[in-house]
Structures are given as structure tokens and as C-alpha cells.
Symmetry: C2
Subunit: 153 residues, 2 copies
DNA sequence: ACCGTCTTCGCAAGGACATTGCGCGTGACT
DNA sequence: AGTCACGCGCAATGTCCTTGCGAAGACGGT
């Protein structure tokens, strides 16, 4: 993919906020004809700049209401150690987010569970089984204050 | 909104994974006519069960590449203290996620910044100005391992 | 300067899609 | 039994998406 010009970034900004906008309206808002806009959108999708579109559900509609934040320390920082841990953590479907971090802990995870019993199962069957882990620290979200998909939306 | 039946939840599950699916295909996959599906979708959107649709962009396409995880402790747990903090934190557009937490810290924030200089500005102008804060601890994401919008996708 | 190439545009057409009104069937409640 | 409310499918209409096509502009080599 070549560089993104100002029209591409305008399209992306709009689609971040309204992923189901029609091509016709998107075209009008960025000042293109529908055909040109459709072709650009096709390129953005096929090149992977846009990795997908997702409906955002209100929390009450979700089966997975409980959010845990999990801090994890490994036994070392060797590349092989990190790679093995990362390959394993990717397999757990309840892990929504995982970052390699600076600071006290090596990784931070955002884990979704249906309830406390479900989290206990996830902790036992998945998190405890991750390789090279020497410390796991789970905290639970008591209330969601903000959950924005993108900056400034 | 009344209860969600199995067709509604099937629609939601599909839309979580593919927010730009056509109504015709969605109808076929849940076993409804396009008209019935369109009417159900309208209800789900208007009632707020679906709060929006968003394009998910690859990290390289984003202006905001840097993710900071910020732990915050307040000077007390009084309802008024929490409410004032929450009202203030909601105003910062760079805060993507904010949870009231159990455990050592009161709040955990996910903050997006363009670069370190941008984060320094956010920290100075927004985070330091939040009321009742007694401790702020910022960590930075070195690498993104997982970023799923939903469970099991 | 000229010409070939490459890119991206707008226009137009045909096919697909979304939406709305309408009538029917089902189940609950009187 | 009658009535009412609800949700469905069908059909029609208007809108939208996509693709082929030709033109305009950018760029580089001769």
C-alpha cells in the first residue's frame, strides 16, 4: 500500500465513527464521486488498513459483562520466552487485549468473563497454564466509566 | 426494550464480527426475510442495544500509535469524590477506557497519544488536573500482542 | 518540448439492496 | 368465540453499489 493521502485519512476518520455509513454519503462527505470512493474503500480494506467493522454493543446486551485486568510477570525477558508466552496467550479467546509493557509487570491483559465463576475457570484453564509466568495479579472492573473505540469520538 | 430472543442474539453476534454485512446476508444467516431482519435491526439500533458501528484500523494507519496504561489513586472513596473525578476524566478525549477498579488503585485508564511528547502534554494538561488524585502511575505499551473487539473473534 | 505510461477521476448502466405498506397467521387475554 | 397485539413474508419502489469506459493530470525519459 502506498501512502494515505488526505482523502484516505478523512474516510478513515469518518468510518471510525460510523462504520455503517453508506458509500454514497461517505463519498459526498469527502468530496468524491461514489465510484471513486468505492474504489478507494476497496483498496483500504484489501490492503489491511481497515482490518474490519464491528458493532459496538451496550454492556447490558453482552453475555460477557465482567472485565478483569490482569498483570503478568515472566521469568525472563529473553526473546524466546516472550514469543512462547505470546503464542500461548493468543489462543485464549477471553483475552481481548494484551500488551507488552514497560514498568513493573511484563504484560497487561484485559479479560472478559461472564461472571466470577467463569473467570475462575479462565484463570484455572488458561492463565495459569501460560508458560514462563511467575506472577499473576487480577483486578476487576467495578464500573465502566468510559469505553470509546477511538480518540475523541 | 423487551428481551432479546435467539434471533436477536444471533444478529448481534454476527454484527460484532462483521459490522458492515448487508441486511440481505444477515437475514439469510439468521433465517429471516430481509424485511423482518431490517425491522429487528432498526429496533436494536434505536433501543441502544447497538450503540454504534466502527471501522477497526490497523495500528500503522493510526495517528495515535502510543498506548499508555495509567493507574490512578484518589484521596478517598466518597461518592462525591468519585463522581467529580469521573465527570472530569470523561472530558479528556485521549482517554479511551476508564474503569473503577478493585485492588490497589482506584481507576485504570487506557490513554492514546501520538508520541511521547503528545503524552507529556496530555499528562500535564489533563491527567494532572483531575480532581482528588493522589497518585498517578503511567506505563507504556511496548508492543500490541492482541487487540480483539469481542470475545472469541 | 513531446510522448508514453500510470493513476485516478467522473459518468453511466445494470444489478443488488433497503425500506415500507399490506395482509396473514399465531398466541394471549377477555 | 372474539379481539387485540405482534411478528412474519411478499411485493414494489426508490436508493445504492459496482464495473466498464473514456478523459484529464502527473511524471519521467528521449
Amino acid at each position: 500500500m502506498s501512502e494515505l493521502d488526505s482523502i484516505d485519512t478523512a474516510m478513515l476518520r469518518i468510518l471510525q465513527q460510523n462504520g455503517r455509513i453508506s458509500n454514497a454519503e461517505l463519498a459526498e462527505r469527502v468530496g468524491l464521486s461514489p465510484s471513486a470512493c468505492s474504489r478507494r474503500l476497496d483498496i483500504l480494506e484489501k490492503s489491511g488498513v481497515i482490518s474490519g467493522y464491528h458493532a459496538h454493543l451496550s454492556q447490558k446486551a453482552l453475555d460477557y459483562r465482567m472485565i478483569a485486568i490482569v498483570h503478568i510477570s515472566l521469568s525472563g525477558q529473553f526473546a524466546k520466552t516472550l514469543a512462547e508466552f505470546e503464542a500461548a496467550v493468543k489462543l485464549c479467546p477471553n483475552v481481548l487485549v494484551c500488551y507488552l509493557m514497560s514498568g513493573e509487570y511484563d504484560y497487561i491483559l484485559r479479560v472478559a468473563a461472564k461472571d466470577l465463576a467463569d473467570y475462575e475457570r479462565i484463570h484455572r484453564d488458561w492463565l495459569s497454564a501460560l508458560p514462563h509466568v511467575v506472577k499473576i495479579n487480577s483486578s476487576f472492573a467495578l464500573r465502566e466509566i468510559i469505553d470509546r473505540p477511538n480518540v475523541g469520538v
